[in-house]
């Protein structure tokens, strides 16, 4: 056996298990989703009722799906607009020598490590109308929530989901920003201090620009996560009331598991995938590409 053949066999031996598992459980089901999406199929019997793009047309003409899509977009934008300034502000304030800093980091990390399901079950109870603690606390300051509760009122439900989402994921943003801040070279701060820069100037001119790559990649992960949101919505509202909190994921699960419309559900999942892919490509093209430029050899700070 020649060395070249041996090398090939080794490569095969090492990569085959992962590749096979990946092809079988990731790539193949996605190809099947595309196939199901052009049939009318209730989950039994052979795929015979070919309908072409009809499932796509019916999904895209369905107001529930269009609203679900809008909710995903609102959640994605709100997550970034709320968590970025808050996370950045808190990270900048905490990025200093202080007692209990590591305990504080651990505490901030708690909501992130909880399962989305567990966080949602707790908040579901806290947000119960009248008997929930949120309404009780509001009552002590003379306010009262909507009669059906924050999650039961179509006007409030989506905002409430976004609130719980912020509670769950703000800690991740803070932790990542803090970690990014730790790698800003100390010399820069010293130089700025010698030049008489104020704390605020230092943050604006040095820290935040150097944190750019961390922020941009965090925002990317946040966006993709928002587009795929399922667990939290499913527990908090199940997509209701009156479809006011559906996401694309809850839509396709309801169509697939409750109504056995596998063709429709698969068309929705293909659309969800295309939306994620397009969002990722646009983000890469217009936002992340700056990082590639700045990290070119001989990287210079601007």
């Amino acid at each position: 056996m020649g060395p070249a053949v041996r090398k090939r066999l080794e490569i095969l031996f090492f990569t085959a298990p992962a590749l096979l598992l990946f092809l079988f459980f990731v790539v193949w089901p996605i190809i099947k989703a595309v196939q199901f999406s052009v049939y009318r199929w209730k989950g039994y019997g052979p795929l015979v009722d070919f309908v072409g793009l009809k499932n796509y047309v019916s999904v895209l003409q369905n107001d529930v799906f269009i609203d679900a899509f809008k909710h995903n977009i609102i959640i994605a934008i709100a997550s970034i607009l709320i968590q970025l300034p808050l996370g950045l502000a808190i990270a900048l304030l905490l990025n200093r020598k202080m007692k209990g800093q590591s305990a504080l980091r651990t505490i901030i990390f708690v909501p992130y490590v909880l399962a989305e399901v567990i966080a949602s079950v707790i908040w579901f109870q806290l947000l119960q109308p009248k008997y929930g603690v949120v309404d009780t606390i509001l009552a002590t300051v003379g306010l009262h929530g909507p009669a059906q509760g924050f999650l039961g009122d179509p006007k409030w439900a989506l905002a409430t989901v976004i609130f719980v989402l912020t509670w769950k994921y703000l800690g991740l943003a803070i932790i990542l920003f803090l970690a990014g801040l730790q790698s800003v070279p100390e010399e820069l701060y010293e130089a700025a201090q010698i030049d008489g820069a104020s704390w605020w100037q230092v943050q604006r001119r040095i820290t935040i620009p150097l944190l750019g790559p961390t922020i941009r990649t965090w925002a990317f992960l946040s966006m993709i996560g928002s587009l795929q949101l399922f667990d939290m919505v499913w527990i908090l509202t199940g997509g209701g009331p009156a479809n006011s909190t559906n996401t694309m994921a809850t839509f396709l699960i309801i169509e697939g598991t409750k109504r056995s419309n596998y063709g429709i559900a698969s068309a929705a999942s293909v659309i969800l995938f295309v939306v994620s892919l397009v969002a990722a490509l646009l983000y890469q093209r217009f936002i992340l590409s700056r990082d590639n430029l700045t990290s070119a050899p001989g990287r210079k700070k601007r």
């Binding site: 990946f22 089901p29 901030i108 603690v133 990014g180 990317f220 999942s269």
Partner: protein
Amino acid sequence: MSAGTVSPSKPPHVAMTAKEQGFHKKKTSLEGGNPLVWGIALVVIALTLGPVLYGILSGFRTNGQLAEDPAALPDPWVLKNYVGVLTNPSFWRYAGNSAAIAIITTTIVVVFGIMAAYPLARYRFKGREQIFLVFVMGLLFPATVAIIPLFILITKELHLGNTWWGVALPQAAFALPVTVVILRPFLQALPNELEEAALLDGASRIGFFWRILLPLSKPGMVTVGVLAFVGSWNAYLLPLLLLQDKMKTLPLGVADFSSEHSSDIAGVFAFTSLAMIPALIFFLAMQKQIVNGLQGAVKG
């Protein structure tokens, strides 16, 4: 491809050292002790921990106490709810299922992941970047997109519905991309001299992998292992579709308990609190690895 920049430019241990250096060197402008900073820190702590502590404390109250004043401390403290959960065989069964599925998933991910990352990091061959790109692309495919065909594949074709393996195998497959993306630069960063020395001493590449590379890549493997474990332990959607009755995992158990016992709010709080405590302890103990992993995925 988008995730190309998501991949870490440095392996986690390098990032760690930089961070540790940061720790002693840091004495940025304002020192601690500023009341504003303390005030904000306290508000953040209260908002973060409040709901969790409220849940734990409410588990020590009766439903009567909760109805009377939702925002009070237990008076008297009752253990009934927690004892009820701890003596509930379903709770232990769910916890056992969660643990078993998480262990199987983690083992597969770590073993297959490090094996795949090795040639992708240290062999030169045609098609290497293409294979890597397949995994990078995988970062964009969460299980949601393929959930309907996966459900059919696992229940109707493989007859693995309602089994540990039926959940663990697809979970492992979906966790492989991030694993390979984190491990490859980690393995690439190990010095070439090590490999040359081993080969000169007559070791084969497999021997090098087994005796030198594996022990050295332990920190990377721990990081990806912890991430896979967290992902599996917290997973909801795939178990929701695939598992019923006695095979359910803790997140499914919590969600069921909360909807089936909706009038027993104190019981729901006790069940939820107990379901989160073991995981919380484990994940906080592994906090460094999780942060390193996430940072590895975020570092531009």
